[in-house]
């Protein structure tokens, strides 16, 4: 028996001496399940609560403006306000989804948020450009459009960052799986003939 096998055997015997199936272990199992289901931390709840509240506020303000502005306000501007109300509602829905789900998976949530931020900013910039063009308000609209473009670049950088992170994880996983298969092949090749699996 090799040193490693001896050490592993001793470890297994030591681990086996600790109680494993006690009443406390069952309580721990149930608690762990609950932990998995409701793992959102206090600061995370606060953060998502703030996002939800801000989204709801934006939705209410933009929506009520879209509905209550006098008839002299062009339809294009009303449409833009309705769009902002929809964006606010979407952020509230995202925050509600996370809070109800109770799980804090940063990468998944960051991906959804980054896609929403980029999509909404892109739509806003296009809509803003169209409104400026239709209403011929270049002097007033240009600074707004410039701000929108700057935000669009920021959103694109955030989205690219998240996509790179996801791709990196996926590539690393593929490489590790490939390494694992190579190891299996090497181990199989090193086995004596009698132990090699026969052809399928």
């Amino acid at each position: 028996m090799s040193e490693r096998e001896k050490a592993e055997r001793l470890r297994e015997r030591l681990l086996g001496l600790d109680p494993q199936e006690s009443e406390f272990h069952q309580q721990y199992g149930a608690g762990l399940q609950s932990t998995f289901d409701r793992q959102l931390s206090g600061p995370s709840r606060l953060r998502y609560g703030a996002v939800g509240a801000a989204g709801l506020l934006g939705c209410l303000v933009s929506g009520s403006l879209a509905l209550t502005e006098p008839g002299t306000v062009p339809m294009a501007v009303r449409g833009l306000l309705a769009l902002f109300a929809f964006f606010g509602l979407s952020w509230t829905m995202l925050a509600t989804w996370v809070l109800l789900r109770g799980r804090d998976h940063l990468l998944v949530q960051r991906t959804v948020a980054a896609r929403m931020a980029f999509g909404f900013t892109l739509i806003t910039v296009i809509a803003l450009a169209l409104v400026i063009f239709v209403l011929e308000r270049g002097a007033v609209g240009t600074p707004m459009l410039a701000t929108g473009l700057a935000l669009l670049i920021l959103a694109a950088v955030v989205l690219a960052d998240v996509r790179i992170e996801r791709s990196e994880l996926a590539i690393r996983e593929q490489i590790l799986r490939l390494e694992g298969r190579l190891m299996e092949m090497v181990e199989a090749a090193r086995r004596p003939d009698g132990e090699r699996p026969g052809p399928a």
Partner: protein, 202 residues
């Protein structure tokens, strides 16, 4: 630390007298890295596998310092919560064992904060000259070792527990215990001697 270097430097395989290292397979380390990546991608089944793979070992570690079984399981539950929340930020998946033991140790220390001051836990061991190595093959009666661990000082118990769990290299144990690798070696040597004395006295 890369996988090859880590595989060559396992604590259980270390022999101070000869400087030899047994060569463990890289397969387990690779599987560990894969598991971490799956957890980072949000795969729920991967978390279950992670818990299944490490629960007994971490419980063994906690139990060596927490006499009450219920409290030990509660501490382990807190450890998993921190692992769940933090695994996304683990940049080097191969460092999972160090990370897990460090988190567990922090929770155990928090539990004992009133009882033991941090300084006491981290106080350097008296310098010990390395002599003949008492490797794990000398401790072949698991039950005696198990009960013997409870009768040696915490500082010795901690390093010996990690030694018997043999998940970490010397450098990694040093990182978990926040002491230099040389101190780990001397502390391990002293701890083995203490345990041997305890076992012989029984």
């Amino acid at each position: 630390m890369n996988r090859q270097a880590r595989a060559h430097d396992y604590l259980w395989a270390y022999r101070p007298t000869t400087g030899d290292f047994a060569l463990p397979t890289n397969r387990q380390i690779l599987e560990l890295e894969l598991l971490v990546l799956r957890c980072q991608r949000g795969e729920r089944a991967a978390f279950d596998e992670l818990v299944h793979a490490w629960e007994r070992k971490l419980f063994f570690y906690v139990r060596r310092f927490v006499a009450n079984e219920e409290e030990a399981w509660q501490i382990l539950q807190e450890v998993w919560l921190q692992v769940l929340r933090g695994i996304g930020s683990l940049r080097e998946p191969s460092r999972l064992p160090v990370w897990l033991y460090a988190i567990t140790r922090n929770h155990v220390m928090s539990h004992h904060r009133a009882e033991y001051a941090r300084e006491r836990w981290l106080e350097p061991a008296d310098p010990v000259e390395l002599g003949r190595d008492d490797d794990h093959t000398s401790f072949d009666d698991a039950e005696l070792v198990y009960h013997g661990l409870a009768r040696i000082p915490p500082v010795d118990r901690e390093v010996l527990t990690l030694f018997f769990l043999h998940d970490l290299s010397i450098d990694e144990v040093a990182q978990v215990l926040q002491i230099p690798p040389g101190t780990v070696k001397s502390r391990l040597f002293k701890a083995k001697r203490t345990l041997r004395d305890v076992l012989e006295a029984q």
